[in-house]
Structures are given as C-alpha cells and as structure tokens.
Symmetry: C2
Subunit: 315 residues, 2 copies
C-alpha cells in the first residue's frame, strides 16, 4: 500500500520522511521513524560531528533500517557533518537553505542519496540540473525557515511536480492520512513530516514543547524574521509577539538580533521555557491532539490514508 518510487530510492516501506528538526530530531526519534518503515532523519542544525557519531551508534543499536541526516547549509562545517554522517552509516543526506549544487557531488560520490528542500519551482529546476535524487517541496505552512515567496504546499507541490521529472516529496501542513493522500494526489511521491513527530514520545523536545503543540490551534503560529534573519514559522508565544511587534515598528535587524540573543531554540526545546524560547512549528500543529509514539503516528497515517482512499473511491 502507498508504495512509490521514493520507497525504492530510499529503501523504505512507506514514503514518509522525518523532517530535520534542530534539538528535536535526535537518535531515539530517528530510530523509531526508520524502524516503523519511514525514513528517520537527524536534524543536524545544532549537532557536532561527535553528536552525529554518538547518535548514529544509538540508531544502529535500535534498528538496522536506513536513516538520514539533514544539514542546513548555513553551517560552515556542512561538509564535515555530511562526511561524518555517511561514515556512520547514514544513507541519505538532506540539505536545505543554500545551493543544491554545493554538496550533491560529495554526497553521491560517497554512495548516499541526496535530497534538497525547495520553496519554489525555479529552485526545483536547479535541483534537477544538480542531479539531486529527491526534491522536497516545502510549503509556507511548514515550521521553521521557509521561503521568501511564501508559496503554500497546495500551490507548490503540483507546480514543482510539473516542472521536474525528479521524484518530489511534499512537506508542510501534513500530519495525518488526509494530508498524506492529498500530497500524493498533488503529484508528490511521498511526504516529509516535522511537527507531528515533534509531538511524539521519542522526540528530544522538552515535554512542555510537546504539550504546547497538543494545545495549539490552527492560528497558533507566526512568522518571525520577515525583516530579520529570514522568515521562520514558530509557535506563537511571548517571544514571537515581541519579535513581530519590533519588526512592525521597523526596529533595525542588528538591534533586534541583540534583543533576541542566541540560543532561543535551546531555551524552549531543551529547557522547556515556551514563553521565552523559540519553537519551530507548522500550522498543522492545531490538528494534533495527543502525543503518540512515532510508530503509532506512521501506522495511523497509513490506516487513515486507506480510509481516505475508500471514501474517495465511494464517491
């Protein structure tokens, strides 16, 4: 059921990929997603080479199935992280927020599969030229950094799928079987899911963060960084209220960065301060009403997707 080209390329059972989540997507969650038939992906944003080595050992002790690593290309040591991950057994490297050309050769020469995240069809075409194995089309509703063009999953997925022949994975706004089937209908061959897995038993996020996702509504996120640091979707809280208000006032980026300071993701994800910390979170978080294990999440997506198909076929 729901076996696509993505399953063959990544050697997985279901075309469901864990989005790379800084401080959240660590060994336990990655192992659980992979073991349940999806692709677990380490969120290397805040990780060192040593972290990757340690986490990979834990993953390999828990499952023999494939896993991957996501590297934001803003990291100046991205090549070291990629090499370390492949040395440790990662078979897929996902890159984002930078040129897809930069590391594709390195990744593919070392025998791993290369995925890149895009926010518009023009970038997808560049990925195809660069020889990427999989293109992730991530919409504006997704948590974390997203594109300046603000193109949504519903608009982006079919336009990317029409513009390239490389297999496309849809990301942003997907948390259940409804979104999974919708993404496949739009022309994707798989989905990448972040927020739903943030509210999982195995996620490294603080319990307060998981509870905040369970309690949020559809309108519970905000874009910060429209004028400072690049747009990023976060769970609305005291911090985002402050940032949005300062940006609206025209506070200069450097002054605002000073006010925000560093480590705000750690404040939330590790220390559990959901007022003063930064929590990357997608709009679909409003549909999440309980914390489940990653295995339950994947099983539920697949079983709900079957029901959705039955219901569509009955029309």
């Amino acid at each position: 059921m729901f076996r696509t080209q993505i399953c063959d390329i990544l050697n997985i059972e279901y075309p469901i990929i864990l989005g790379g989540m800084v401080w959240v997507g660590r060994a336990d969650l990655v192992a659980a997603v992979s073991d349940a038939g999806g692709l677990g992906v380490l969120g290397a944003g805040g990780m060192t080479v040593e972290d990757i080595e340690k986490d990979s050992e834990i993953i390999k002790a828990k499952t023999s199935k494939p896993f991957g690593l996501n590297v934001p290309l803003a990291r100046p040591d991205a090549d070291e992280l990629i090499n370390a991950a492949i040395d440790c057994g990662a078979s897929v490297i996902s890159t984002s927020a930078g040129s897809p050309k930069k590391y594709t050769a390195l990744i593919k020469d070392r025998g791993a599969k290369a995925m890149h995240v895009v926010s518009a069809a023009k970038f997808a075409k560049k990925c195809e030229e660069a020889g990427l194995d999989i293109i992730v089309a991530e919409g504006f509703e997704a948590g974390g950094h997203n594109g300046f063009d603000e193109i949504t999953t519903m608009a982006l997925t079919p336009q990317v799928a029409s513009s390239v022949s490389t297999p496309v994975v849809s990301a942003g706004g997907i948390a259940d079987g409804r979104g999974f089937v919708a993404a496949l209908a739009l022309g994707a061959q798989g989905v990448q899911i972040g927020t739903r897995f943030m509210a999982s038993a195995e996620a490294a996020a603080h319990q307060n963060v998981k509870d905040a996702v369970v309690n949020m509504e559809d309108s519970g996120t905000a874009i910060t960084g429209r004028t400072t640091g690049g747009p990023a979707r976060c769970l609305k809280n005291k911090l985002t209220d402050m940032i949005v208000a300062e940006e609206a006032k025209g506070t200069p980026p450097d002054k605002l960065m000073e006010m925000i300071g560093g480590g705000r993701s750690i404040t939330a994800c590790l220390d559990g301060d959901c007022d003063e910390g930064s929590i990357y979170c997608g709009q679909i978080g409003g549909s999440i009403t309980s914390i489940k294990t990653a295995g339950e999440i994947i099983a539920d997506i697949v079983s709900e997707a079957k029901q959705v198909m039955e219901s569509l076929n009955s029309l």
Copy 2:
C-alpha cells in the same frame, strides 16, 4: 463520479464552485460554469442592484441551472444585493469578510442556501452556530482578501473539517484535478476555484489580465495590505512593488491609501493596465498555461481527477 453532499445541497453535478471575483465573475462566466455542471457565482463586489438584475437575465437565458451570488459584507448595501439576487433567481448566496450571523436568517428565510468563507477553524465554528449550509475554508494561497492568520489550504481544510459537521468546501491553490482530489482527501466535500476561471474565455477580465495569469510563475503573487486595508493576494506588478515597498518603509495607511487611490481593480480588469492596476490572483496561477472555456476547465478537472484516482489506486 465525485458526487458529494455539496452536489445535493446546491443541486449541481460536480462539487465545483466559482469563487466570487469582482469585475471578473459576471454573467457569461457564471452561466458557463453552471451550465457545465458546477455552480456559477456572480462576484457582486463591484455590482449594483441593476447589474445583478441584468446579469441574472443573461444567465437565465443561457442556462436553466442554479447560480449564486457572492457579496463581500464590507458592502453597506449587502442586504439589497442579496434580496435582488434572490428575486432574480439566485439559489445560493455566499458571503465573506464579515460576520456569518448577519445575513444567514435573511438568506435562509427566503429559501436560498447560505455559504460563508472562513480563514480559520474558530470562524468555522461560528458559521456552524449561525446555521450556514456550507462553509468555505479559504487558504492563504487564494487570490484576493485573506485572513490575518495566513492559514494555508493544506492546514486549514482538515482543521475546519474536523471542527464542524457542516459540509466544507476548500478554496485556495486549486486549479486542476490534482487539487480537486487533494481537497476531497483533506476532508472537503467540494472546491471553490477563482484564478483558474479568471483565465477562461468567458471571464469578464481584460485579455491582458488573462494573459498575465497564463504567463506568471508560482512566485508571481504578493500580499499587499498587511499594514493598510487588510491583506490581499495580487499578481505582482509595478503597483504591488510600490505598495509592498511603502508598507515596509512604514508609510502611514492613510498616506498610502492616498498614493494608491481608488479603482485600481478597474484599471486592470476592465482597462487592461496590468502594471498600474490591481489583479487579485492566487499562487496556483503559475500552473495555468492556457486560456480555456469554463466548460473545458470543468471537464478537464473531472477527467484529470479520475486519472489521479487511478494512479492513487495503483499504489
């Protein structure tokens, strides 16, 4: 094929509703959509009672099938427009940008069906309390005015569908059979489509506007009015560049309104000036590559939707 509750409520063949489009959705387009089995809806934003009477005569001369009227509730004479439309045979009234409670009793007492457009689940609950027959969940990718919460179709549709038992129609980002099936998978029982029908033979828009939609890319729209007049998605042009730049500079709303002046939709839609005029347009416009008749658009959506279902069933 694809017969849902929406078809029974509206007495139509396919659950495809024409979005209300000011200066664009006039008699010829409304008649063509209805005659092809969807629901044609007059975009009454710029219309007088006399316009409604005239257009209704044309529609009824062209088709015996049901048609509707969309009224932005910003119009102080909304009740007159609604009464005129029902007098003239409209069987469905769609309202937007205001309280769903205000005219529901009037519409239903007169025997017409009442639909209201919402941008977040909290508003959908209010529609259900108000007794609306159909709730239209319209995402951030849609052309024209949209909600301050910027919730996208992919995130909004399932969250609205889960929060009410009233039938839901999905709008924003839908232009073909892929989007149609995706919307149904997300829990909607139908779709509302604007931009795709703007680039139709029967649309009242100037040929230059239709050509501009055919030539745009997925990143070809911008939100204006984030600080002035309320957010609205438009085709990017000289006018939107100016507005976005002034808003970023913090130009006061009244001064910016003075710079913009009135009638900018007329400048584009009727006079064909696509630089200085305002063209409401959704992100999915980038997927539109030719002008078709409304009948062809509907037939193509249905036939592509069948192909999408075959492809999903083969997985």
